[in-house]
């Protein structure tokens, strides 16, 4: 791994496969980025890993709501994501943000679904002439 400079896509694919194989990737990834002096790309690499995982059927979704997610709501969102993306495994990272007022915002590596009331209010405000 310490040879020629690898592209982020290849790095992400490698660590995604490692994760699917059940191996820990936090320390090796951190060590690699430090060794190759690419620590500034850490966020981008993580995003690429999530994208690579999504391509392999494992979806990581950031779900933001104004209140804590109820179990049935979380299940409904999980089912929704499986149906719409074809993912076999969906992992939800819940975030609570009262500023959103209501509704849900789902961020996946490939798209964003924002049905929050805050977003609709912002759209209404943005419709000013």
């Amino acid at each position: 791994m310490a040879g020629a400079r690898l592209s982020r896509r290849k790095i992400a694919a490698y660590f995604a496969d490692e994760l699917i194989a059940g191996r820990s990737v936090v320390k090796p990834l951190a060590a690699y980025l430090v060794e190759t002096k690419r620590t500034r790309e850490a966020t981008l690499v993580l995003r690429d890993i999530e994208t690579a995982l999504a391509d392999r059927g494992i979806l990581l979704a950031d779900v933001s709501t104004s209140r804590a997610l109820a179990a049935d709501t979380e299940k409904m969102i999980t089912d929704y994501l499986k149906n719409t993306t074809g993912a076999t495994d969906v992992h939800i990272r819940p975030h609570v943000d009262p500023y959103l007022l209501g509704g849900v915002r789902i961020d996946t590596p490939n798209e964003r679904l924002d049905t929050t009331l805050r977003h609709r209010l912002n759209q209404l405000t943005a419709s000013k002439i």
């Binding site: 209140r67 409904m76 719409t84 007022l101 509704g103 009331l117 209404l124 405000t125």
Partner: protein, 179 residues
């Protein structure tokens, strides 16, 4: 006549000259005749020509004056005619000038009226345009203010009224709508 002849015959018979009888001195008479002839000659030579010349000059001057007076009279008559003609022409010209001035005044008034009418129409059109712009701007302002007010009111109301159950319904509706 017989008396005179008898008187002359008597005197001749008495031995006397007729000139003596008549009391005439023939020598003095001849002298007087010569003096008279000399006087006539001198007058004819020196006085009459000068006098005649003066008279002729005077006559010529008088004739010239008369002629000049006649010419002046003719000129005066001609001048009168010219003046009359000039007055006539002047009247005609003045009439033309007045007519032209009247026409120009009418044209100027009509032109001024036309310009004033166009200006008034432009002012009205500009006012309409400005009014429409103001109305549009007011509508925009009202629209934006309404949106801002609605957004603010909605935020305030929704923040207090959206319960957990309502939130779940909102999420479910959104997910089902997208599914």
């Amino acid at each position: 006549m017989d008396v005179v002849t008898q008187f002359a015959a008597a005197e001749g018979a008495a031995g006397g000259d007729i000139f003596t009888t008549l009391g005439i001195n023939w020598q003095l008479l001849i002298f007087q005749i010569i003096a008279f002839l000399i006087l006539v000659w001198a007058l004819g030579k020196f006085v009459y020509p000068w006098l005649m010349k003066s008279v002729d000059e005077r006559q010529a001057k008088i004739e010239e004056s008369v002629k000049a007076a006649e010419e002046a009279e003719k000129k005066a008559e001609s001048a009168q005619e010219d003046i009359a003609e000039l007055l006539k022409e002047a009247r005609v010209e003045a009439k033309d000038i007045v007519t032209t001035a009247k026409n120009e005044a009418v044209a100027m008034v009509a032109d001024a009226e036309e310009k004033a009418k166009k200006r008034a129409e432009k002012i009205v059109a500009d006012a309409h345009e400005q009014l429409e712009k103001d109305v549009i701007a007011a509508r925009k302002t009202l629209h934006n203010d309404t949106i801002a007010l609605v957004a603010l009111a909605t935020e305030k109301v929704v923040g207090k009224t959206v319960s957990e159950s309502i939130d779940k319904k909102i999420i479910a509706a959104a997910v089902q709508e997208r599914a």
